[in-house]
Symmetry: D3
Subunit: 313 residues, 6 copies
């Protein structure tokens, strides 16, 4: 039996007890765990609607509906894995550079331990802190980035750090193995046509939503798998990749996106990539009274955990 498993929902109702991710025990340990779910409630770097600091809490609340068996993947994550809700990184609201140090410092022991970190944002800026911790142990990693935005802008209002510049910074800091990195799903409107080639100029492979619709999801998946190869990879999922009908609760919505079914299916097919870390970011609960965004995020995290389970020897 695994050491850390969720509360059994056939014994204690799902709406009861303190809210942790998937009802896992809330323990700040790196021993005897396969993965750790870690909240990073930081939204200082949002350039439009803010409030994703309540994202981790919203995801935990509704994640109590998640059960352990993944039917399409044929795996029971509770039987296969031990995991904890590691609680939240103690971010410093209003101070992004200090927060980056805190993220790096608090994630480092988890990464070092060999447990897989799954981070819940917060806005997308947090990924830089995560990648710093990861690169310190693993060196530069391949990035698999699902998003409706590139997040490789150079600066906003004269400043280097926010949720739209994070992957350019990561590249500059040598945290990403750009040769094996890929950005998926960009769409919406752009500042200029240069936006569309800027990431490619930086070295990323890019498949926009427009191209995805043309080549189909199967080809998209194939290109991701080929791009990453057997490199260690980090999976960064911005919830605004999903169409707002399925994920209205986020800060910078873009219409014309993908459905939840398409998205879960895509994630499942990446099951052979060697992910050594994950995050899901930009869940903004205050504009989504039906909680469907936070619940979709919970399911995406469950798919991440399922991949960990499938890859466990």
């Amino acid at each position: 039996m695994n050491k850390y498993v969720p509360i059994n929902s056939l014994e204690v109702p799902r709406f009861a007890e303190i809210k942790t991710f998937m009802r896992l025990p809330n323990i700040k340990t790196t021993e005897d765990i396969d993965y750790a779910v870690i909240g990073i409630p930081f939204d200082t770097a949002s350039t439009y609607r803010t409030g994703s600091r309540f994202g981790p809490s919203a995801i935990r609340d509704i994640s109590s509906l998640i059960k352990p068996y993944n039917a399409p993947q044929k795996v029971n994550v509770v039987e296969k894995l031990s995991g904890v809700d590691y609680g939240d990184v103690s971010v410093n609201p209003g101070y992004i550079e200090d927060t980056y140090e805190r993220i790096e410092k608090e994630l480092l022991p988890v990464v070092k331990s060999g447990a897989i970190p799954i981070c819940l944002g917060g806005d997308h800026s947090i990924t830089l802190g995560e990648l710093r911790a990861i690169a310190k142990i693993h060196g530069p990693v391949a990035l698999v980035h699902f998003d409706s935005h590139f997040d490789t802008i150079d600066s906003y209002f004269g400043k280097k750090y926010n949720h739209g510049t994070v992957f350019r910074r990561a590249l500059e800091e040598g945290l990403i193995d750009v040769e094996h990195s890929i950005q998926i799903g960009m769409r919406g409107t752009f500042y200029s046509e240069k936006d569309l080639i800027e990431s490619e100029n930086l070295g990323f492979e890019v498949i926009t939503s427009f191209e995805m619709r043309e080549i189909g999801l199967a080809n998209t998946i194939e290109r991701i798998i080929n791009r990453v190869g057997d490199k260690k990879a980090f999976f960064s999922f911005d919830i605004d990749f999903v169409d707002p009908a399925y994920a209205p609760g986020t800060g910078t919505i873009e219409v014309g996106g993908f459905s939840s079914m398409e998205i879960l299916d895509m994630i499942r097919k990446l099951k052979d990539i060697s992910f050594i870390g994950y995050d899901i970011v930009e869940v903004l609960p205050c504009v989504d009274p039906s909680q469907i965004t936070a619940f979709l995020a919970s399911n995406i995290v469950f798919e991440f955990i399922s991949i960990i389970a499938l890859q466990k020897k």
Copy 2:
């Protein structure tokens, strides 16, 4: 001219007058009617978000937008049928066994009269009461069950009756002709892989959402039709079968579902099955400020009524 028809919305605006389903007269009669719409505002058996006791009221409110002609089915339900809003069963909140007796007792005269009952939930537990009334007149019936959950769990917290156990109870009580019954659309996460075969072990045919996506909707329809054959059937529709983007207002959402267009299309194609009763359950209005869930439920009921109209000699 049929005896009981809706208020004419070209004469009295849709937002005016007391709210009944589709503006039908609110009369507790079983005479001169082809069908009766009956609310069962019971949500005691919900295991997560509760509040579907306000489902019938929410459906009635927005159902005033429904007009009489069904274009794809080429039928005018008002010209073909006489129907009433029968009001609500006087449920006993907090007491499921007493409520089952009340449902059975209040539905019995309707079923006996030959009028088709269309029940508005309430949580899914109510179907057991409905099936008791129906089986008393018709004997065991084929079940056509659209849902994202099986609802054939044996018990929760040591108790036999709730919205997750209803079809196992119905089977044990001999209300269902399991050989001709089928469950459609199960998805989400599961307790274990056994969940997926438990209904089949009980004798149901099962087509999960995962399988539906593989075989397509046309094949799904064909298998339903073949399974039921010429048996008398009951159609139980849990609104959480629909994707939360289209039906956010329900208690136990599951992502990765079907669109409203797909769903209406499927229902229309079941028009030759001998349904002797219908229900639509689990509409939870308090988390859906735009009322799209209750309006979709209204349209589903309208499709039910259209089938009744098409089958009327």
Copy 3:
């Protein structure tokens, strides 16, 4: 450099400053502009949920997220065009005939100047006033009408003017070149089967949603293009054409519609039609806390502007 362009969002954050459409300058001028965005906050003619008088304001609020470059159309609207937010027509709430006069009078100088008007409703009744101004300069125009309703009913409650009768009135007044006009996307329920042929009897070509699903979107587009030919055309887009999952914020929702991706794609393909005016109507913000409807409307207007840019010599 064009005279009137939006505030640069890399210098002033999108949430800052007075809200105009796409951050354009708010000037009531007809000089040096290619297009003018004009609010018509009138909802007196709504037959069900009202409140679309706040539609223009809601669209402006969230439209600050729109950037200038349209990737699928390969055009930068700010580089190509000068445009203004012309403010609102001073409607008279409660008085439709007076309001029609005000719309016509206030639009006339814009139309006369050769600038393309893009009107933000308000309910669909406003289109009659717009067409009066347009026909005064251009004569009868071809109508391209996307909607889930025909809006060609003769009268409601004995009155000629409201949001369900607007195109019959326009026809009677000789504002529409019906031979080259087409209605797209009608669905939902109907008063009778006559509803479905009434528009055709009036001379419109009609493609219902049901037919669209059969013939496909490519064929739909082709039929629109063929129908309009090289005539001057007016594009009237009712947001309820979109499925409520993607556009919950509207007054008379109809389930079973199209996705935002399908819709944007369709509009882009109409880029060679000679549109001399546009409107988008029936955005009702008070039932859509996540603002996805108003943001979709903003994107649709952006597609309109992109067509203007593509057609500019």
Copy 4:
């Protein structure tokens, strides 16, 4: 036993059954009744937030919580009175003059019968139609008007009829006995200082909120009672008289108002005035998710009914 009484809530739960005011039978009768509750779902005359056409429906929904005994007044309204929910006047949305004729025509039989009408708005414009019906039978009546606005403006945008001009019109039409009429509670901001004397110039007695705070509620009550004397009176209550903390759901809120406790207390003390009609207007449910405004309106109607009961011989 009275002929028409509510459903017993100890037998049928309050959330069950078709929603009528206080669970009274929905019958369009004028026989054997002491009072009739009548919805007038008209909001065309609103000058700011619209949507009070759903006011009657919202009040009915939550009014099922009202029980029959009024403790401070020591009266049981069900034991003393027979009453019905008369349904709604078939208003014509968008057409105020036609609607006035409909209100007058539909109210006339009720007034004629001697039953007391209690009207649920809708915006305040409806009172003119009500007063026309009442004056036809009773002649000009004393007006007791609780509101944060005077509603005696001459015209808006060149038009005579809307929710801000209703009492000037009533005066001009000779429907009000202005010598015994009084306006209570005006506050907020004004167009000019003339606003404050305009009603007095028209002949009304006026006690603004500012004055009420100075003289106290007891003196206010005394002045109302003295003003009306033994004349037949009509009580018109605009829910925006109440502070927005207690009644957020209305179209033109004004801060700095009265609490629900103060208001119920004031109404109770008017129990000896010879009211021959009542209305409560401007409940706008779509901005009040907790339904506290509609419930306060239900309680105010209950106080009206209690006065009828106390005055019944």
Copy 5:
């Protein structure tokens, strides 16, 4: 230093970390604690709006804003006391009698240990389970009951247990020392005048809201203190005692209540009563998007804890 104290909010932001009451450690211990906050997420016994099963979770969420020092009481609860968030009782949704056994069984060790239990509802029915545990150790206790309802009805729909009958059952079971018990604040409408004397006939002292307004809050407090004397007492606080303007998030609102300032002041003045247990019930978050009800409940619990601190030797 006390053993169990909250997270320091000058070090870890209030929105971070797993949500427990006032950021106390979540430990199911009875050792080294002065008090335990215990959720009882049961709402099966609600007779109108349901959903208070999410009350404990909502209170915990916003309670992170509570700081340790109570200025009017001049006490620092963290310096004086050790306390835990004990988590939730594992209730059985849909089954009230089984739930009562679970409440009693899970509370018993806490009561036995001498720690003071503070229970978070859930609907008011839960108090019966709490009193059973308490009476088992302490014998019958004096009840101090703040509520807008008596909750001493004999039965609803033929059943003995729900949120309106709880104190009659407690009395019948000998759990209450009725001679020293008092009910405060009843208001709203009633079934009949007998409702008002029924509790007194059962032996309770009663001060209705109507009487409170007459005698004033100081006299009310004095009568409570005199009634209880030096008996061990239980404080049961139904949030609907507060006016809906201050506490909109509850199931059976009653207008005309008290303000949060009045209420906190009253609780503070009961600081010398020997309370051996507390509860706060009927917080229903889904209708209160601004969370003011749950935050008021948090403050009320903080006042309870402050009394414990003041009484600690």
Copy 6:
């Protein structure tokens, strides 16, 4: 006639046209104006709920309901004054020190011109930037600070700048004439008893809410007036000073506050203080669907403008 006055709402409906404060012209001018309303949409420094960057926009939206005449103050602000909506300061989200420079720089010309600035927050941190601009021209000013929090904490999480430290920083920078400064209304819970004397130790006079209730509002006003004397003063109003029933839309609510009527009355009585600047901060619209908080803020700004009008020679 004054140069800059609002749109006349008897000619153009209040819901029409681009939203500026009170419908003033949106011009960045310092000539011919008595006052300028300036948005500062910065919320990076919020320690709990964020989103007040949308405060200025929300206040402008609903401020169109404000009319020009102030009855209790007997002044018509449009007749007396010329004013503009100056638009927003171009803040830098995520960067407080850069934002302070921007605020100071953009406010300076206004202050220099002699026009009175009225700033709309944003969180309370912005006041430091405002005071820097003001002190540069006027030297240290007396502070009149209405708030439920002191905002004189030394630091959070090791950082000097956020919305809880603003007045300590202002003091350290010599921007405040502390001898004539006063803080009004602090309440809620505290970190320790030292919180209550810390401001006094810094030199402020303090009147907590608890003390206000004891001494009454008249004495409170008198003490403010005496404290400030004839010094130039700045009025900083945090909307959370108001009770959450009246102002639910704010980030760090505190129960037990004052009503809108009490608050407006207090502001009016400060009419003889020589205010040379004002702000209103912490309006957070996303949790207040009925907009009552933003409307109260609009009215408070109107009271500020009224004082400017009364003081104009």
